[in-house]
């Protein structure tokens, strides 16, 4: 495959995984949790590096899950101590991110880790760092990791589809039916974390947030069905990746920046033209509600 094809494929996998998981972030009203976790996974990755002295995928994912769960748990804990929910999120994620930044500066030396990389990613270099997969051949490491994460995320979403639905819509009913709501909350946070870690290395924290929130928010304007919302959100994620790459090549600029920008463009288009809840549709059908 060509250099461009690998980049587009990698970014599309980010868009697809983030688009799917992001739907439930939006429906659980936890969009800002994406922002928090996308920053705190840095700490997890750095810790994993300090312990193992390797930047391999497996350790990074484990570190990321740890950091994600730690974030979710600390936010919940501060909130239970009567700190406002949004405030506790702000406190926890900036603090953990800062610890990550300090550790990078002091303990990782000249490793392949820096703050610039963490925020913007290095998608341009992804095709050069490859791994040989038996039976498939050579492919970029980041792409391989994303492929695995995408499979895991889809599997969990499918297996517990109705549990995600009920714990998002009516957690009180779910609890009264004996569905372990807290378990699913932390399982979900783990899925967000692994998606973020995998995407993080490729495209950086900023684009992860864009891909987690904007495509599902756009999809929400097009449909009233959860299954269709998931399909659309994933599609918008892929579309943003392709559109963003074209844009970056055209005006010769940052690839992940353009892709994040493309999610915004798709949102604006949806906001205006979506037939269900778009702005224009509302004017055309003023009587419906």
């Amino acid at each position: 495959m060509t250099y461009s094809a690998w980049i587009i494929l990698t970014a599309s996998l980010v868009g697809l995984s983030c688009g799917l998981i992001g739907v439930f972030l939006i429906l659980r009203k936890m969009a800002m949790m994406a922002d928090a976790i996308s920053h705190t996974v840095l700490l997890g990755i750095v810790l994993a590096y300090i312990i193992t002295r390797e930047t391999s995928g497996v350790y990074m994912v484990i570190g990321g899950i740890f950091a994600g769960l730690l974030t979710a748990y600390l936010v919940q804990w501060l909130h239970s101590l009567e700190v406002q929910h949004d405030a506790s999120m702000g406190i926890v994620f900036t603090t953990l991110f800062a610890i990550g930044v300090i550790l990078i500066a002091t303990s990782t030396g000249n490793a392949h880790l820096d703050v610039q990389h963490a925020l913007m990613g290095e998608i341009t270099f992804i095709p050069f760092n490859t791994v040989t997969i038996p039976g498939i051949g050579e492919m970029p490491k980041a792409t391989f990791l994303l492929l695995i994460i995408f499979s895991v995320v889809s599997l969990f979403l499918l297996l517990f589809y109705k549990e995600w639905k009920i714990t998002s819509f009516d957690p009180a009913l779910a609890a009264s039916l004996g569905i372990p709501v807290a378990f699913f909350h932390y399982l979900f946070m783990s899925l967000v974390s692994v998606t973020t870690v995998a995407a993080f290395d490729a495209v950086g924290a900023i684009m992860v947030v864009a891909m987690l929130i904007t495509p599902p928010a756009s999809a929400y304007l097009w449909t009233d069905r959860l299954s269709i919302m998931l399909l659309l959100s994933g599609t918008f994620g892929v579309l943003s990746a392709v559109l963003g790459y074209a844009l970056a090549v055209w005006i010769d600029t940052s690839i992940s920046g353009s892709m994040a920008f493309a999610t915004g463009l798709i949102f604006i288009a949806s906001f205006l033209f979506a037939p269900k809840h778009g702005l224009i549709a509302k004017y055309v059908r003023p009587t419906s509600n």
């Binding site: 429906l27 009203k29 009567e82 297996l159 517990f160 589809y161 109705k162 549990e163 639905k165 009920i166 998002s168 819509f169 009516d170 009180a172 009913l173 779910a174 609890a175 009264s176 039916l177 004996g178 569905i179 929400y220 449909t223 009233d224 069905r225 959860l226 269709i228 919302m229 509600n289």
Partner: protein, 253 residues
């Protein structure tokens, strides 16, 4: 045959260190329809949530059929306040009713035709069959409440807890809901309902539980729902109670 299906002893709970309910105790007989009555902030919703372990209790014990809640969960149905969920959630009326069956369907399994049929029948019973595939945000308040009731019916529980099912619904829905509640009672099911409208208490419920942080009175409506007890529950201001009676739109708690 047991004398009581619900027994609550010395139940207390708090929100952020402020006690909301204190030393609540009462027993409920099977086949009764109990109205839980009290002013705003009296702890009506908290009482239900604490009984169902959705809110932590500080002290006390609650048993259903003489057993702990955990072992009889499936026989207990809960209808939360309509305002407790986001009605913009991308789902249909039938799907919401189907959720009532998730406990029976079991983890990791998908609903089958049989479950869908049961959910549809429950909607039919609430006069909502034609709205089965309607997106829930497109339903009126009364219709949304009917969907919630249908979901409870689909659960086919023996004890039901309902949090203000009659708040802010139209007259037709109120009649439909009361008809279903009477049917449940005839089937010897036990129902406890948080209720706001003092005017209809005597007509709707055969038992009342008057609470204001703690139990003020509990008993058959004709004995316990007296002017004296109402005044005690609402803080002694009769004029204010009259105001409550006249209120058409209920405040959302």
């Amino acid at each position: 045959m047991q004398d009581y299906v619900i027994e609550v002893e010395n139940l207390s709970a708090s929100y952020r260190k402020t006690p909301v309910i204190e030393q609540i105790a009462f027993k409920v007989k099977p086949g009764t329809l109990t109205g839980i009555i009290g002013p705003n902030g009296a702890g009506k919703s908290t009482l239900i949530k604490t009984m169902l372990q959705l809110h932590p209790s500080l002290t006390g014990e609650v048993t259903f059929f003489g057993k702990h809640y955990k072992s009889v969960k499936k026989r207990i149905g809960y209808v939360p306040q309509r305002g407790s969920v986001d009605w913009d959630f991308p789902t249909t009326a039938l799907d919401v009713v189907l959720m009532g069956l998730y406990g029976k369907i079991g983890l990791m399994k998908w609903p089958r035709k049989e479950h869908k049929r049961r959910a549809y029948e429950a909607l039919e019973k609430m006069g909502m069959a034609t709205y089965a595939s309607r997106q829930i945000s497109q339903l009126s308040g009364g219709q949304q409440q009917r969907v919630f009731l249908a979901r409870a019916l689909a659960q086919d529980a023996d004890i039901y807890f309902m949090d203000e099912p009659l708040a802010g619904v139209d007259a037709a829905t109120e009649r439909a809901i009361m008809k279903i509640l009477k049917e449940l009672k005839e089937q010897r099911k036990t129902v406890m309902i948080v209720h706001h409208d003092l005017q209809t208490v005597a007509e709707y419920f055969d038992w009342v539980l008057l609470i204001n942080r703690t139990v003020i009175a509990h008993g058959p409506t004709d004995k316990a729902f007296t002017k004296e007890n109402i005044i005690k529950t609402y803080g002694g201001n009769l004029k204010w109670i009259k105001e409550v009676e006249r209120r058409v739109v209920h405040s959302v708690q």
